[in-house]
Amino acid sequence: MRGWKARIGIAGKKRRPVPNSQATANSGPDGGEHGENHDHPSYLRHHFHSVEQQADAANFAMWIFLATEAMFFGGLFTAYLVYRNWYFPAFVAGSHQLNVIWGTLNTVVLILSSFTMAMGVWCAETGRRRGLVLCLSLTFVLGIGFLGIKGIEYREKIEKHHFPGLQYNLSSFLDPQSDPDVFKQYHDKPLSLDMARHTEIYFSLYFAMTGMHALHMIVGIGVLGFMIFRARAGAYTSGHVTFVENFGLYWHFVDIVWIYLFALLYLISRH
């Protein structure tokens, strides 16, 4: 009957070994509990014990945020999976309307921008201010370049009335020969009216997925602009590299999403 009380009585006296964060908190020159007199860098926020804890927390937060982003795009990928299984011929025909050359070029641009971003993180970690500004600026330019190419592609689709909605035009799918550029390349057979209608689903997904991706690019480019401005003032090259690192993670994530989109949307019938 008194078993649990006895257990608690024992437990109350037991002291667990003190974890490391205690040691770091007390490891300052004065060994004080708080360490107000510590030689703290100015960027250490008041509620953290140490720079390591702060960087750790920010990094962990970024990974969780990327998990939410993965779930966000996951909804779109689910929709893609379902409809691609249902309407495969329509998806092939829709995919043939995309310009693989522009798509490949854009993939290269984005991978390059990931490389410059990674170099930027390295520059920040090794205290190279001018290198950092250069890398971030290159990333910025490549990002804009990606959006520019995406814009050209969007314009092609809109001009051919392949943007979903009231203006949507089925002629490229009902009568492929009316669309000589694409027909020359793929020699598609005409689709039945029902299946041709489903190409609108393909383009709905195309615009939704690449649009959401582009939105993430725009946000990223905005943050890059802010970072270039701050990096010129030397904000990230004096030890406080967390922000650059975390932004790097975001940028690579957006890049990876594009790799998937490229494969799923552009390369459907290629083996």
Partner: protein
């Protein structure tokens, strides 16, 4: 020997309010609107949540008033549709989802784990602003003509057939959703990275465990509803066709994506409430929570199972029979960890030294009502009975038992439990106990008749009903007014106590959490020195020996 865990409550008459605390360190509106202190943000949340709860409650009042008579006499059917939609949207997205996490969780998680603040204070403030923005959009929707799709935004009704403000409501849900994601993200990072020395995972209060599980769901489920309603908005505005059957799109896909969030959302709502109940029941029965690890892991189990049961909302919507079978089975599985919790709370009470302060009364209310709500869920998770009961008042009664009887009771239990810590003052004991009883009676009178109405086949979401249902509806409306009085009573005496309440002292309930070991109201930085956790959670023997030590220290000076 065995009496040493029965703690005599401290003498409150000598307690004084601490001169320096988080409430009076800074003054002025800006010191609140730009604050990064988790405690102040919690108060901001509490004020704004109460505001929206009042509006949502007023809507509920209108619904019950309309249902007093079989005809649609107070308002037209169109208005009725808008009123119940607004009630749902406000109560779910602006009250239930953020209720306990954003107020009590925000305030107490850092204190319970011995941290000075949440890991990301600026994100915390941002999440409040997002919440307010979402709330303003809902208010805008309301005054500019409302929305009548129901809170589920079912396609193609919401995309093609209604002319009400679907877009602004969806924007509001989207933005409020991000507020919830940021709250969850903040909790996860804080619980992982900010624990005080010695605060191991199995020394965390169960309140923290429950919030951890709920946060995982917030972070992983909310983005899915975000993309679902984004696609809905795109379909309504630019005309993409992902959910449009005329183009080969499938409205059922929207349901899948929507319920992939909205089912975990009910666990986002209830898990933090369960955390509160663990704290309250342990404190007022002076016992460690029975089966600490089982209760902790059952929170995680609920979070995991919660992701795999969403299609039980869709049994009659044309999903395959095999899917129905699988989701029915999985839904039963989720009952297991919930039952583990209820049994363990009951065993905690067994041979405990129980006292009946207001928070404990609310917790008892939770235990009974949540159990009834959960059991009625088994009827709905069973495919055969679900076909008869779905879209009837049985459903309405079921989720109100879980959400109002469970969650709201837990919220009130938590508010009453931590009120002295948050404000430094005590509310009138007798009055608060009375309010708890009134709320309990009012609640049962309101919602129990709805189970019977549902069994008899009264459909939900109609302004009018056959006259033979009137007696039970009148009973329900009468109950709702008693429930309203109960809530109003608590609001009144809680506000009264802010100025006139007795000074509470640091630890009026003699609870063991770290948050009770510092002054009330707490300092802006929570602790004067970094706490070191050297005992298990809910260790009343430790508390007793600590009290004995402090009495010994005081004794010589008194002589």
């Amino acid at each position: 020997m065995s009496t040493n865990t029965i703690v005599s409550l401290p003498d409150q008459s000598t307690a004084t309010l601490p001169k320096d605390n988080y409430l009076n360190r800074e003054y002025g509106l800006l010191s609140w609107l730009l604050t990064k202190d988790h405690k102040r943000i919690a108060i901001l949340y509490m004020v704004s949540l109460s505001f929206f709860f009042a509006i949502g409650g007023a809507m509920a009042g209108l619904i019950r008033l309309e249902l007093l008579t079989p005809q649609s006499s107070l308002m037209s059917s169109d208005t009725y549709n808008k009123v119940f939609t607004m009630h749902g949207v406000i109560m779910i997205f602006l009250f239930l989802v953020p209720s306990v996490p954003a107020t009590l969780g925000n305030f107490f998680i850092p204190m319970m784990i011995g941290a000075k603040d949440l890991a990301l204070p600026r994100i915390n403030l941002l999440s409040w602003y997002l919440y307010v923005l979402g709330g303003i959009l809902v208010l805008y929707t309301m005054i500019s003509g409302g929305v009548d799709t129901g809170w589920t935004f079912t396609t193609p009704l919401s995309t093609h057939y209604v002319n009400t403000n679907v877009i602004s409501t969806c924007m509001a849900v989207f933005i409020a959703g991000f507020s919830s994601i940021f709250t969850g993200l903040n909790f996860l990072v804080t619980i992982h990275k900010m624990r005080a020395p010695g605060m191991t995972w199995f020394r965390l209060p169960l309140f923290v465990w429950a919030h951890y599980a709920a946060s995982v769901q917030m972070v992983l489920a909310t983005p899915v509803v975000a993309i679902a309603i984004t696609l809905l908005m795109l379909e309504r505005t630019v005309g993409i066709g992902i959910f449009d059957p005329t183009k080969g799109g499938d409205p059922l896909l929207f349901q899948h994506l929507f319920w992939f969030y909205s089912h975990p959302a009910v666990y986002i709502m209830i898990l933090p409430g369960m955390g509160v109940i663990s704290e309250v029941i342990s404190t007022f029965s002076r016992k460690r929570v029975f089966g600490y690890k089982a209760v902790a892991f059952s929170s995680v189990a609920i979070a995991v199972f919660g992701f795999f049961v969403w299609a039980h909302h869709m049994f009659i919507m044309g999903i395959s029979n095999y899917a129905v079978l699988v989701f029915s089975l999985l839904s039963m599985l989720v009952a297991v960890p919930s039952a583990i919790k209820v049994f363990n709370w009951s065993f905690t009470l067994y041979k405990g030294s129980i006292t009946f302060e207001a928070p404990m009364l609310y917790a008892f209310g939770f235990l009974g009502l949540f159990t009834i709500g959960g059991m009625s869920g088994v009827f709905l998770g069973t495919a055969g009975t679900d076909i008869h009961l779905t879209e009837t008042y049985f459903i309405v009664a079921h989720f109100h038992f879980v959400m109002v009887g469970g969650m709201l009771m837990a919220f009130l239990a938590g508010i009453h439990f931590w009120w002295p810590k948050m404000t430094g003052r005590m509310y009138p004991a007798k009055l608060s106990q009375m309010a708890a009883v009134v709320t309990f009676i009012g609640f049962n009178l309101t919602f129990f008749p709805q189970f019977i109405l549902g069994m008899l086949g009264m459909p939900r979401r109609y302004a009018s009903y056959p006259p033979e249902f009137q007696a039970l509806n009148v009973l329900s409306t009468a109950g709702a007014s008693i429930l309203g009085i109960g809530y109003l009573l608590s609001v009144l005496y809680l506000l009264w106590s802010l100025k006139y309440g007795e000074v509470a002292g640091d630890n009026p309930w003699q609870a063991t959490g770290l948050e009770w070991q510092c002054q009330s109201p707490p300092l802006t930085e929570n602790f004067t020195e970094m706490p070191i956790m050297d005992h298990e959670a809910y260790d009343y023997a430790w508390l007793e020996s600590k009290n004995r030590d402090s009495r010994k220290e005081e004794a010589p000076s008194a002589e």
